[in-house]
Structure formats: C-alpha cells, structure tokens
C-alpha cells in the first residue's frame, strides 16, 4: 500500500492524511473507487495536523441534528474498529442560565435520538467523585460519549483500503492543475499525478491548497489551548486509558478529560488567537508538530484557576505537573460548521475541511457517498462549502467571524442568534430606506434582510386584542423576536405590505438545450408556456430534497430559477454540476444584479395598478404567471405568487433602480397604509399559516415529497433526478407525513407562557418520543406563531398512527411537556385553505 513511487495518474487524489482524509479514502474504496492516492506533506501515522493533538473525545449531543447524527455514526465506526471507549460525558452548569441550556440539551438529545439526562450536583459527583459540587448547579449526562484513537483508526482505515489505495506521506503539494474548468493534476515534490477528482482534506492548510486552483475554502487556523497534568495519584487505582466521564465545564468554556493517570485540560475560554496559515511552522521546523506551537501562557491563566477550582482533588495533586502544554491549532470557519462538498468553478475538486475527529469518520463516509452517488445518508447541507460562495470567503470576513464564533463553541447560542461582525456586508438597493425605517436586520446568505421594522410598533397597539395570548414574556422565547412581527402580519392580511429584498439566489439558464436540462433537474413539468411559473422540489436520486424553488419560463430557451438566499451557493453548484459536457446550457447568476420586492395583501393590486404601466387585473396577470412590467419608469419583471398566502407579486428589478422601485411603490401605497414588513412575516408567520415548507427545516434528504405533502406535480413522463424514488414514494404508504400542529396550552409549571422555537421532540400521550418505522424521530421542524389563526404553530413529521387531524400529542420544551393538537395532515393551509386570496 505504501509506495516509494508516486503513480503518474490516479482516479482520486486525497490531499491530507488526517482522520478525515483516511476515512474518505477508506469509504471511497469500499464504495468502489479502486485507484486512490492519499498524500500528505507530513510523515505517518501522524502527519502533523490537528488530528495529532485532538483530545479525542466525542460528545454526541448537539443542537444540530446533522452534527449529532454525524457524531453518532462516527462513534459507531470507531467502535467497530475497536477504537472507542465509552466513558460517558457530563456538561456541567455553573449558572442558572446554563441549567436552562442543559434542559435544552436533553431536549435535543431526545429529538436526535441520543441518551441524555439532567443530573443534580450530587449525581454528577457519583460519576465524577473529584468534582467540586459547590460550584455546579446541574449536569447533563451524555451516556453515549467516549474517547477514540483517531491516529490508529486512520491506520486501520488505510489498511482496509489497501487494495485500492496508494499512500504517499512526505509528499508536498506544490500546485493544482486546472484545465477547462476541471481539475487535471496534482503537482508534488515527488512528481505530478493526473487525477479525475481531488479532495482537499488538508485541515488548516486547505485554503492554501485550494488557492492553487484559484478557489476559496474559508477557514482560519485558531488556537485551542490544551495542557496535560499528571501523574495524578487518584487515577492510579483505575485501569484503562479513561475510567471517568469527560467533563465539559460549559460556563468557563473548558473541558477536563482523564487520560491514563493524567488529566487533559482544554480551553476555549481564552481570547481568540487566530493564525495566518503562512505563519505556521513547517513540519521540519516544529519542535513538536506544526499544529502544536507553545502555549501562550498568559491566555491560559484564568483557565488554570477555573479548572483547579472545579477539580482540586486531582489537579491540585502536589506530585502532578504540567507535562504537556500547547496552543493546539485547529480550523475555524465563519459559522463553525465544516466545509464539505464540490468546490464550484473547478469541476472534480472537493473540500473535506474543518472537520473535527468527533465527526470525521462519518463525514468521510458521507462525502464518499456524495462523490460516488450524488447524495449522502446524512444530509450535509448545513456544511456545504458553497454556502459562503461569492460573499463569505475574504480573509478579513473569515477572521472576523471566526473571532466572534470562537466564543460560541461552548456558548449558549440562541437558534436565531445573529452575527455581529463584518456587517452590513451584502445590502440590497432597499437597504438605506429600510435603515431609515429602523429595520431590525437579520443576515442570510450574507444579505441584510429586515426581520421587522421598529417603525411599525404602532401595529402592536392596533392589533392589541388579536395578539392576546401570543406575546412572549419569557426572555429566551422572545430573544431575537418582536411582537411587531405579528402586528406586521395582521396588517398585511388586512391591507398591504411590501417585503424585500429576500436575498434570493436568482439564476438564469439559457441555451438551446435548456428545456431538456430543466426538465431533468426538477420534479415539476417545466415544458410550460412562456410566462408560467412552477414551484417544484429538486431531488437527489434517493428521492430526498436537495432544494425547493421556483422555475419561471422567460422564453423558449430561457428559464429563471429563484431559490433561497442561504442555499443559493449550494443550489448553484448543484445545477451547474449537472450541465452535461455536450449540453448547450449557460448559467447566468443574477443574484447580485436583481433586487426583489414583494407586494402582498388584499390591496396589493390597487397599489401596483397605480404605478404599473401594465394591466394588473386577475385576467391580464393570472396567478402563478410572470410578466415584464414597468413600475414608475423602472423596467422590471414580476411573478404573481406568494409565500405568505396573499394576493400579490414579486417584482424583480435591476439593483441600481431598486431604490426608485421602493419609493414609487411606497408612495403609491400611502393611501392604503402600505407597510414595509420583515422576514419574520415572510419566513415564519405567513408561511406557517399557509403550511409552506422551508428547505433545511421540513425539506431535506431524509424526507421525500410524498412525506412532505408535495406531490401535486404527480410523476411526469420525462426523466428527472430522483424520479424512480419519487414515484416509489408516492406508491408506498408514508412512513411519516408532515403535519401542522398547534400548541393547546403554553403555561409552564412556573405559570409562564412558553413558546417553542423549533427542533423540540414530539411525544406521544405517554411522554415517549415518537419514532417512525424507519427510525426517524418526530421533532418540530419549524415553529412560529400564526397571528391570524391565533395559535402557535409547529410542523413535524408524524407516523400514520399519529398523523390524524385532531389527535393530541405533546411537545417537550425546556424540560416540560406541553399539549399540542394535530391541525393539518399534509400541506393543506391552515389559513385560507382554498388559496382564495392568492387567486383573488
């Protein structure tokens, strides 16, 4: 397997032999790739990257379903190789706020199918006899947690892939050759290897390698401080590498991990210390390893004090010294998630970067599935490298976000928490006007989008009665939220509202083969008349969701695809990567050049008719069609459709004329009391009442359109991605069906009204988490208040025995159970079920 000669060509080259590179090689070999080269600049088994200094523990429970499932799958793989020790793990709380957060941990554990329970300080002490219980208020026990040996696991994976793999350590990549937009070869100091596909798994060196091909992998090396203290006499009586749970001292952002007679004390508490990749020592120059520079001692002082205080009995052992101390370098990304998938602009080049040992085996497997069959068992959309495409790749941005995000690693992060740094970055033509109206901006895909407008505060008083019972008193529930959203919603339903810019991804497809191409890409029939729009799922071959979006036909050989801003980069990569070599199809990205203004509500037609040169009547501009219109002298293009369930249009105008469009519509709307309203209405309250699904929440690879209630297209004759699985899913009975539920009683045991925010487990009458026959658990995919229906709404997939309208269930939120009722099974809107408003 190890070879002195580097082959001159290979099917697949993997750059980086840390745990994820090894895992990718192994799984690719397992899936049939038989000509793989795995290279690393460093020696084996420890080439000097982050894998070599990881503290090697895996805590499976996270608030992210994707990361929890990846960690669980990684534990299974380590365990199968006999490289896992199930030590358990405990997160301890020093503050009341953290106790609440640990209850949310229990909630996530239940939602994602992990063991997890809340412990009293005394119960923590039973597991960790050396902990200072005076300091802690509670613990979260993760029974499934444990430790692994990623270096040895990497060796085993290489051995298993032996027949398909050439391993080439001590091989420095000097350049990547790109020809006609595709990866062609990897040039190294030991020769050049031609390759069909190349995966960059080089950890914190990945950006440097990617730059050789002219593309970005946005991550920065950052310091994670770690010391090892021993020998500790307390541990001498126990056998094995680890015999007590790993403790995460969440409020000090530290962990204590027993290892033999030592205790490893790691910290994310210190000030963020970010490195430039060029400052990192080469492996020859490094006394220990390039990623293990010496401890910055002053930054670690507080961590020493805090850990001594928490575990004096072991850490204050007079015979125990600090035997090892490093500023361990690891990869930090702008949002903390890994960077996975095909790098657009260079076909055949993949990123498998910013991966921690706790998820690496599963990510290697999932990316191997993605590379070999186009989709993975565990949906990786939140880690898609293309999510930062065209906005979030500058060095400055990456550093700012990494700096900010560093504090969140053990932080209490609200699901709606917004980033503060590098803002505003992407602003639409409406930004200045919105800012003048005191918009509360949220960010999506880099775009600044108003979530609500403080200038609409009067609407809370106007709709005082309607909002009774829907206002959130609890600080956590109302964080990053405002009752103004509900007021804006009701105003839109009664009058008219303008919403924009949504930060959409807007892609035009032109060319002589575009009709066939588009037909192949989506579920809905796209061979429609010019001027028609089609809302459609986009599926992987397993019938799971890759996206859902709107396709409009602008001409015989011209389509426009409009998709969500946060997934614009990934969708673009998906569409671009599926244009055949000999197909005449060109993708033109209009996302930055067109702005979008939605005008919706009963008075929308009156407002627009005043300023549009065209006839906006129902007959002249029917629902679900698109036309060019001129609004106040601005040449625009509009689609008559709505994500909020109202009569109205999405108007697309050149970005440079957007402010004029805004002003013209606002002025025309004055007599109708038109209000700019935020994405809180567009993305949550409006869509929840209408039962509209959102990609990444309801729609993902694990669920089919049949389960999501999106089979209105039927099965068209033409072939398309995922057709077979889609047709089968329609034939078969649903294992689960997406339902809309409402909360019957909000009052907690402390008498406070609580409002779920999403990702909470759904329980049956007995309090057991509901699981479908495929093992998928029922949880709240989206939560939001429906002010017109007067209820707090939840969406969740439910197996047939529970998917019955009127059926009573429970939802667990912050440690308590609340009764809920199934309102709708399937996609029928709760509000205006016949869509009379949209069609009015």
């Amino acid at each position: 397997m190890s070879s002195r000669e580097l082959p001159s060509s290979a099917g697949t080259v993997i750059i980086g032999a840390g745990i994820v590179g090894n895992s990718l090689a192994y799984h690719l070999a397992r899936m049939g790739r038989d000509d793989i080269v795995l290279m690393d600049k460093g020696p084996l088994p420890d080439p000097g990257g982050s894998t070599g200094h990881a503290s090697n523990f895996l805590m499976p429970v996270e608030h992210s379903k994707e990361m929890t499932h990846l960690t669980r799958r990684s534990i299974e793989q380590y365990d199968e190789m006999d490289m896992f020790t199930n030590s358990g793990g405990i997160e301890v709380a020093r503050t009341e706020e953290r106790v609440e957060e640990l209850k949310r941990r229990v909630q996530s554990a239940k939602a994602w199918g992990e063991a997890g329970e809340l412990l009293t300080p005394e119960e923590v002490e039973e597991h960790v006899p050396y902990i200072n219980t005076d300091l802690i208020k509670a613990g979260f026990y993760s029974e499934g947690a444990g430790t692994c040996d990623p270096l040895r696991a990497g060796e085993i994976m290489r051995e298993r892939a032996e027949d398909s793999l050439t391993v080439s350590p001590n091989t420095e990549v000097l350049d990547l050759h790109v020809e006609d937009g595709s990866i062609a070869a990897v040039e190294t100091d030991r020769g050049t290897v031609e390759a069909d596909e190349v995966a960059i798994a080089a950890g914190l060196w990945s950006p440097k390698i990617a730059a050789m091909a002219g593309v970005d992998i946005p991550l920065t090396p950052a310091v994670h401080q770690l010391i090892s203290v021993g020998p500790i006499s307390f541990f001498e009586q126990f056998e094995g590498e680890i015999n007590h749970p790993v403790v995460r001292d969440m409020d000090t952002q530290m962990y204590e991990r027993p290892s033999g007679n030592d205790m490893e004390v790691g910290s994310y508490q210190h000030r963020p210390i970010l490195w430039d990749v060029d400052e990192i020592m080469s492996i020859d120059e490094a006394p220990l390893s390039p990623t293990q520079p010496p401890l910055t001692e002053d930054a670690f002082q507080k961590s020493m004090e805090d850990s001594l205080e928490l575990m004096p009995e072991v850490l204050d052992d007079p015979d125990a010294g600090i035997r090892y101390e490093i500023d361990g370098l690891l990869s930090v990304t702008p949002d903390g998630a890994p960077l996975l998938g095909p790098l657009q602009d260079v076909e055949g080049l993949w990123s498998v970067s910013a991966v921690w040992i706790k998820e690496a085996p599963a990510i290697g497997e999932a990316v191997a599935q993605w590379m070999t069959r186009g989709w993975s068992d565990i949906d990786l959309h939140a880690s898609n490298v293309n999510r930062f495409y065209e906005y979030g790749t500058s060095r400055k941005f990456v550093k700012n976000r990494a700096h900010e995000g560093y504090q969140k690693i053990y932080g209490i992060v609200h699901p709606s928490e917004q980033w503060q740094s590098s803002r505003p970055l992407r602003t639409s033509a409406f930004y200045n006007r919105q800012d003048e109206l005191d918009a509360r901006f949220f960010e999506a895909g880099g775009w600044e989008r108003p979530q609500w407008f403080w200038s609409n505060e009067d609407l809370v008083r106007t709709y005082n009665e309607e909002l009774e019972g829907l206002l959130r008193a609890n600080e956590w529930d109302s964080r990053w939220w405002s009752p103004i959203i509900l007021g804006e919603h009701l105003h839109m339903r009664d009058h008219v509202a303008m919403i924009g810019d949504m930060g959409f991804g807007i892609f035009d497809f032109v060319g002589s083969d575009v009709a066939d191409y588009m037909e192949r890409m989506v579920v809905g029939r796209t061979d429609v008349d010019v001027g028609k729009t089609v809302y459609t799922p986009v599926l992987a071959d397993n019938g799971g969701f890759v996206s859902d979006l709107t396709v409009a036909r602008l001409g015989p050989e011209h389509y426009r695809v409009v998709t969500g801003g946060a997934v614009a980069g990934s969708d673009r990569a998906w569409f671009e990567g599926r244009i055949g070599d000999d197909e005449e199809v060109t993708l033109v990205d209009r996302s930055e050049s067109l702005c979008t203004l939605g005008v919706w509500g009963p008075d929308a037609r009156e407002v627009l008719q005043e300023v549009a040169e065209e006839d906006m009547s129902h007959e002249a501009f029917p629902p679900y069609t698109a036309q060019e219109i001129t609004v106040g002298g601005v040449d625009a293009w509009a689609m008559r459709l709505s994500y909020v369930g109202e009569l109205g249009w999405e108007i697309y105008a050149p970005m440079g004329q957007g402010q004029r469009l805004w002003d013209v519509v606002a002025e025309a709307g004055e007599e109708y009391d038109i209000r700019p309203v935020g994405m809180g209405v567009y993305g949550t309250t409006g869509r929840m009442e209408k039962g509209y699904r959102l990609f990444g929440h309801e729609l993902e690879l694990e669920y089919t359109p049949a389960e999501a209630g999106l089979t209105f297209h039927g099965v068209k004759d033409a072939d398309f991605n995922g057709k077979e699985a889609y047709a089968r899913a329609i034939e078969e009975d649903n294992a689960a069906t997406l339902c809309t539920l409402s909360v019957d009683d909000h009052v907690s045991s402390e008498g406070e009204r609580r409002f779920m925010l999403g990702n909470e487990p759904i329980l049956d009458g007995e309090g057991e988490v509901i699981v479908d026959e495929e093992g998928r658990r029922s949880y709240v995919t989206s939560a939001g208040t429906g002010p017109t229906v007067g209820k707090h709404l939840l969406m969740a997939y439910l197996p047939p025995e529970h998917a019955e309208e009127g059926h009573s269930l429970q939802v667990e939120y912050m440690g308590e159970h609340y009764p809920v009722t199934v309102e709708v099974v399937g996609s029928r809107p709760l509000f205006d079920p016949k869509n009379e408003r949209i069609r009015s």
Partner: protein, 252 residues
C-alpha cells in the same frame, strides 16, 4: 544553603532551524523559547539540594524582558526567587555575560553556597559562562557534573570520562556546571505555575563590559536530511529492499 541556578532563554527549535534573512540569528517568529536541558537540571539540582539541606534557590538569567518567562518557569519548578539581568534584545558574549553575572552575585544580598550552571547553552554552546563566573569570583569550578552530593561546607561532584568517572571534592562556595542526567527535572504543578506568575522578580541593570571579541560572519543551518523514514517491508520479505538501500548508500 543558598543555591543559585543560572539559565539562558533560547529558541525551541525543531529539526530544521530557520535563520533570519541576514543570517545573523535564528528566526524566532514562530518559535517558542525554552532553556537547555542541562539548565533545567541545574534548576532541579538546586531545588533538590535546598529541599535536603534547607535554604533557598534563586534562578538568574541575563537577557531580554521576555526571559522573565524562563524565570517564572524556574520558579514554578521550585525556585524561590528570580533575578533578571536586563540586557536588552542584543545577544551578549560569554565574557560580558559572566562579568555581569559575577557582579550581580556580589551585589545581591543573598550569599550563595552553590552556583549551578548548565554545562553549555543550547544555542551558542560556548561552554564558558560557568568557568568565567568562577574565575571572576575566585571560587572553584567543576564542569560536566552528573552527580552531586553536598555535605557541610563542601560538595562531592562526579563526572563521566571515557572508561570511568572522575570525582572531585570542592569547598563551597563553588561553581558546578551540570549535565542532563544528573536528575529528572520535575514538571511544574498547575498551582506552582499560577503562583510563579504572581511572584515579583528582582530586576538588575547590568553593566556590559565586553572582552576581546570576534565578529560573526553568518550562521548556516546544517543540511537537513530531506528524506523521511520509510517502511521497506515487514519480515524476511523486506531483506532484499534493505540490501538495495545499503548498496545505494555504498555500505555494501
């Protein structure tokens, strides 16, 4: 007994030593700093002797402000006090260093019985400072010491020579330059590390008196072996490959 351990802040380098562009010094941009293993042993020896005989240990260094880091480490490893001779960023040659240390020793209130040095520094390896300090102070000096026993007013020091060892008895005060192996230096405990940081150092402003000196033309990093270890095979099947390599390098 009063013990003194003299240490020197040096870059902690790996296999390949990066040099500055002008080749006048080591490029320490990305490097950490340490003291030589001999000096770690000097500190440990001082601490152990004081543990046995009572008294106190003083760690002393001459160097830039940053050298205080090495003093704190010595304190964390058991020294009671630290003395920094503030010499600025420029490197001092052995003559000037030894004179400044000797001056400081005479100036300090504490009178030392045992003056411990590392046998040589890890970077310049001049082997001079210990003996020169002894000469300045007119006290006996033994070097290359790997075993030391202190009795009342004198010390028995042993050093290894080819085929055996030499044992000296020196009256105290004396300079003893020790080598790695004389003891196993302890790792500082967390608490001692924290305490060390809070300790005040004695700072002195030494007078630099250079002796006859020389000019450094340039530093050259030795050629490093670019080739890395390679597994040629396992068991008897590996033999032909081994023979090939031996022939390649001209051994056979």
């Amino acid at each position: 007994m009063e013990a003194l351990a003299c240490i020197k802040r040096v870059p902690d380098t790996g296999a390949k030593i990066p040099l500055t562009d002008d080749q006048q010094s080591i490029d320490t941009t990305t490097l950490g700093f340490t003291v030589s293993p001999h000096e770690e042993c000097a500190v440990e020896e001082a601490v152990q002797q004081v543990e046995t005989h009572g008294g106190s240990t003083t760690a002393l260094t001459l160097g830039p402000e940053e050298a205080s880091e090495q003093l704190y480490t010595a304190i964390a490893r058991g020294a009671d006090e630290g003395v920094l001779l503030e010499a600025g960023d420029e490197e001092w040659r052995p003559t000037a260093t030894a004179r400044a240390i000797a001056d400081a020793i005479e100036e300090l209130e504490r009178k030392f019985d045992l003056l411990l040095f590392g046998n040589e520094s890890a970077d310049t390896e001049n082997y001079q400072v210990g003996p020169r300090v002894a000469n300045e102070l007119d006290v006996p000096c033994v070097t290359g010491i790997k075993d030391l026993e202190v009795t009342d007013g004198s010390a028995v020091a042993k050093r290894e020579v080819t085929g055996g060892s030499e044992v000296y008895e020196v009256p105290l005060p004396a300079v003893v330059a020790v080598k790695e192996g004389i003891n196993s230096p302890r790792y500082p405990s967390m608490r001692s590390r924290m305490r060390a940081k809070r300790q005040e150092l004695t700072r002195m402003d030494p007078e630099r008196v250079d002796g006859p000196t020389f000019e450094r033309i340039r530093l050259e990093a030795p050629e490093t072996d670019e080739g890395a270890a390679e597994v040629l095979g396992e068991g008897p099947e590996a033999a032909p490959a081994v023979v090939d390599v031996l022939e390649d390098i001209g051994v056979l």
